[in-house]
């Protein structure tokens, strides 16, 4: 029985069984609720199957010719287009996106830049190992979730890393210790057993805990008796013993730790702590796993690295890559753009109001497969096939492992894939240039 890869989230589960006649999907087995929803999006109520243009404030169905013409017109009238998204598309589409950005002298960035990208670059510079899911299943003995709640965001992650029985950890759950650091008792806390260590930390006090651990790194005796950040002394002792005694520990970081603070950089200090532990520890090490949301969040960095040798954002002038200190946030905040091309994401929903209101002021081209808050303000909406179901391509899993996605059924209404659509825009702009 052929198994497919699910594109519901960044875990890219590769064991999904899909029953289909090539046109419709009748049954999905093995996928979690999020994965099932991804497959259901094929026939979702708010799916977009024809291109749309805003006329008199309302989105109207138009022909592909009219829609792409309008899109090209917006792009041509723009001197600094902003290209953003690219986490819900294949690496091939990301590659064309970068090519397009170069052609139209744009600024391009992915969702990872406001999510996990920052940690990744810092970890690389400190030389901290990134680990893979398979490695945790087979060898892991300590799993720390810090500001991450996989039970509600990447549902099968705990199933795989904590409960699966691996090659060198035959008993699975019993031999792996779970530590969760979070100010809120999230759903992930409910999988804890007696040997695990739930740490409910006071909000904004993570830094105190990290600094204490850094100071006391190898001396259990000098832990303050009143505890730190709402965590009592005995729990701190256990945490230290786990951190310094793990053979193959992994720390899974979520959105919770990448919140900015005016006085310090939490991620940086946390990674320094890991580096310190790894240096002093002789028999083992602690490595890193970054928990992202969109299925190909990790991919953009790899594509940007392979095509232009930089990770993350790229800015072009005169069709050349230029060095820039701007980030996606600063670009939008300073309104240093005059149109935006949003691919497979919903910035109007997920960015702070002060930024989304600035995006809403400029002409917006949306490339997506269903309605979102962003489609309500877009000038042009170009629908595409759903990657991983209606079109194939490469995607990077949250542990930076590339995985091939397959086409399972034909796209509704013969929609183009993201790659094909971006390529078409690129060709149309190219032709216009030679006229």
């Amino acid at each position: 029985m052929k198994r497919f890869t699910c594109s519901g989230c960044s875990l890219l589960c590769d064991d999904i069984i899909v029953q289909s006649d090539g046109l419709f999907i009748s049954e999905v087995m093995g996928a979690c609720l999020k994965g099932k929803e991804r497959f259901d999006q094929v026939s979702a109520k708010n799916r977009i199957t024809s291109p749309l243009i805003r006329k008199d404030g309302e989105l109207k169905e138009v022909s592909w010719d009219e829609a792409t013409k309008k899109a090209i017109e917006i792009i041509k009238n723009s001197s600094i287009p902003l290209l953003y998204g690219f986490s819900n598309v294949s690496c091939e589409a990301q590659d064309v996106g970068i090519k397009l950005a170069q052609k139209i002298n744009g600024f391009i960035d992915s969702n990872a830049s406001i999510c996990q990208g920052k940690i990744l670059n810092k970890a690389k510079s400190l030389g901290i190992n990134l680990t893979t899911i398979t490695e945790i299943i087979n060898k892991g003995d300590l799993i720390i979730l810090w500001g991450a709640n996989p039970a509600e965001t990447v549902p099968r992650l705990l199933n795989k890393v904590l409960f699966s029985r691996g090659k060198f950890r035959m008993t699975g759950r019993e031999i792996k210790t779970l530590v969760i650091v979070d100010p809120i008792k999230t759903a992930s806390f409910r999988v804890m057993g007696v040997r695990d260590l739930p740490l409910i930390i006071e909000p904004n006090k993570d830094i105190d805990l990290i600094r204490m651990l850094k100071e006391e790194c190898c001396s259990v005796d000098s832990i303050p008796s009143q505890g730190v950040a709402g965590i009592d002394k005995n729990d701190l002792k256990r945490l230290l013993l786990h951190l310094t005694g793990a053979e193959n520990g992994v720390i899974i970081l979520g959105q919770g730790v990448i919140q900015p603070h005016p006085d310090y950089n939490l991620v940086e200090e946390l990674l320094e702590l890991l580096q310190m532990i790894n240096e002093r520890q002789e028999k083992g090490r602690i490595s890193l796993l970054l928990m992202g949301g969109h299925f190909n969040m990790a991919g953009f960095d790899h594509v940007a690295l392979s095509s232009f040798g930089v990770s993350g954002k790229l800015e072009f002038k005169h069709n050349q890559l230029i060095k820039t200190d701007d980030t996606l946030v600063s670009k939008i905040e300073k309104e240093n753009f005059d149109s935006s091309i949003i691919v497979g994401t919903d910035p109007i929903s997920h960015l702070p109001h002060s930024l989304s209101s600035k995006i809403a002021k400029k002409p917006l081209i949306l490339i997506d497969n269903h309605h979102t808050a962003t489609s309500h303000i877009a000038e042009v909406v170009l629908p595409t096939a759903i990657t991983g179901i209606e079109s194939g391509g490469l995607a990077y899993r949250l542990d930076q492992v590339p995985i091939e996605l397959n086409k399972i059924i034909n796209p509704s209404n013969n929609l183009p894939s993201d790659e094909e659509l971006l390529n078409q825009l690129y060709r149309l702009i190219n032709q216009g240039g030679s006229e």
């Binding site: 093995g30 979690c32 999020k34 099932k36 398979t134 795989k160 409910r190 999988v191």
Partner: protein, 155 residues
């Protein structure tokens, strides 16, 4: 230990064992029955008596039937119950990403994730019916469900 919590803990020796702890160990192994502890039959221990009966239901409550309920509204199909169920571990083939729900399901398999929700295929091979001794107390599927969707009941 779970059982010991509900005993009177008076070490009255009326059951013929030296301590309540000893009694709880024998209870666990099925050597004695809840009714062998005379104080437990007194009205003031009614709550503990019922709790013990519930815990040991599979051994004593023949008239009651084992049910594993999965709340469809709560379940998010994470498949932890599929992986953690010891029956599944024994019979199903392993894959690189852990124990996968097989298709067609292995004949002993209790749980299966289908359509984004977990469903109970059959209950015959559940440890609470099949195994002996401590293993009969198994309730890992209920304990580890992050959504608290799995409930073991006797009705």
């Amino acid at each position: 230990m779970e059982l010991y919590k509900f005993l009177p803990k008076t070490n009255c020796k009326k059951c013929g064992k030296p301590t309540c702890m000893a009694f709880s160990l024998d209870l666990l192994q099925g050597k004695v029955k809840v009714d062998d502890c005379p104080p437990l039959l007194e009205p003031k221990y009614k709550k503990q008596y019922d709790a013990l009966k519930e815990l040991l239901g599979s051994e004593e409550g023949q008239q009651k039937e084992l049910k594993i309920n999965i709340d469809d509204k709560l379940c998010d199909g994470c498949g932890i119950c599929v992986t953690v169920c010891p029956v599944n571990a024994r019979y199903c083939p392993s894959s690189l990403s852990g124990k996968a729900p097989d298709y067609p399901p292995e004949k002993h398999q209790l749980f299966q994730v289908i359509g984004g929700k977990c469903e109970l295929l059959k209950i015959e091979y559940c440890r609470r019916l099949e195994a002996g001794g401590r293993e009969r107390e198994c309730r890992v599927c209920e304990t580890y469900c992050p959504r608290e969707a799995v409930k073991i009941e006797y009705v």
